[in-house]
C-alpha cells in the first residue's frame, strides 16, 4: 500500500460516496450489533455511521484504560510465585 496510490486518489470531495458508506455499514454491522438495527438500505446517514464508529472506538479505548487500571490493582497484591500469578500465566498461555 504505497503513498503514491493514495495521493493519486486524494478525494477533496466533502462527502463519502454511497458505495463506500454501504461497504462500511455492511462491515460495521458484523462488528456492531446496534448499527444493524437500521433498515434504511439506501440512504444511510453517513454522518450517523461515522459518529457511531467514533463512539465505539472511544468506548473501546476507555475500556482498555479501565481494564489496565483493574489489572494493575489486581496484580498489586500478587506475588510472582503465588497461585494467582500461576493462574494468570496459564490463562495467558
Amino acid at each position: 500500500m504505497s503513498n503514491r496510490r493514495s495521493s493519486r486518489q486524494s478525494s477533496s470531495a466533502p462527502r463519502i460516496s454511497d458505495d463506500q458508506m454501504i461497504d462500511l455499514v455492511t462491515k460495521l454491522r458484523q462488528i456492531l450489533p446496534e448499527i444493524g438495527q437500521r433498515r434504511r438500505s439506501d440512504k444511510v446517514s453517513a454522518s450517523k455511521v461515522l459518529q457511531e464508529t467514533c463512539n465505539y472506538i472511544r468506548s473501546l479505548n476507555r475500556e482498555v484504560d479501565n481494564l489496565s487500571e483493574r489489572l494493575s490493582q489486581l496484580l498489586e497484591s500478587v506475588d510472582e510465585d503465588s497461585p494467582e500469578a500461576a493462574v494468570i500465566r496459564s490463562l495467558l498461555m
Binding site: D23, I57, D65, E69, L71, Q73, E84, V87
Partner: protein
C-alpha cells in the same frame, strides 16, 4: 470470520506476554498502582500493534506513538526497534494532511475519526481511512476481549486461594 478473530486474539496474547515480560524486566520494582497501570496499558498497546502483521497505518503510528512513552525503558525501546525494523522495508512515508475547516457533519466526523485512529490524520484517501478503521476496530476488540478475560481471573483465583490455604 470468527476463526480469523480468534487468530487475532491468539496473536495478541502471544505478543502481550512478550511485551509484558520485557517491560517487567526493565522497570524498577516495586511499582505503584499508576505506574503498573501505565506499564500494562503500554505493553497492551504495543502488543496490539505488533500483532498486526503487514503494513497498516494505525499499527505503525501506534508503535511510533508508544515509542515516546518508553524513553526511559531501554528494553521497551528494543521491542519497538524490532517492530519498526520489520516494517522498514514496507515503510511508506505519509505526508502530513493539511488543515481545513470541517463544515458538513460528514466532514467534521471524518476529522474526528481521523483523530481517533492512530495515524489517521496522515491519511488523505477516505477509502483507505475506512479500511484502516475497520482493521483497527477488530484489533481493538481483541485487545479488550483478552484483557477482560484476564481481569476476570480475580473471581476465579478468589476460590483458588482459599483452597490452597
Amino acid at each position: 470470520m470468527m476463526s480469523t478473530y480468534n487468530m487475532v486474539k491468539q496473536e495478541f496474547i502471544k505478543k502481550w506476554i512478550t511485551t509484558l515480560h520485557m517491560l517487567d524486566c526493565s522497570v524498577e520494582h516495586p511499582l505503584n498502582v499508576t505506574e503498573r497501570k501505565n506499564a500494562i496499558k503500554l505493553s497492551s498497546d504495543i502488543a496490539m500493534a505488533a500483532a498486526r502483521s503487514g503494513s497498516t497505518v494505525w499499527s505503525r503510528a501506534l508503535i511510533s506513538r508508544s515509542g515516546n512513552k518508553t524513553a526511559n525503558k531501554p528494553v521497551a525501546r528494543r521491542i519497538l526497534k524490532k517492530a519498526r525494523n520489520r516494517l522498514k522495508n514496507r515503510c511508506l512515508t505519509l505526508r502530513r494532511n493539511g488543515n481545513f475547516t470541517a463544515k458538513s457533519g460528514v466532514r467534521k466526523r471524518t476529522e474526528l475519526l481521523k483523530s481517533l485512529v492512530p495515524g489517521g490524520e496522515l491519511i488523505k484517501n477516505k477509502d483507505y481511512l475506512i479500511r484502516e478503521t475497520l482493521d483497527y476496530i477488530v484489533y481493538l476488540r481483541a485487545q479488550v476481549d483478552v484483557m477482560r478475560t484476564v481481569a476476570a481471573v480475580d473471581s476465579v483465583t478468589g476460590n483458588l486461594t482459599n483452597d490452597n490455604k
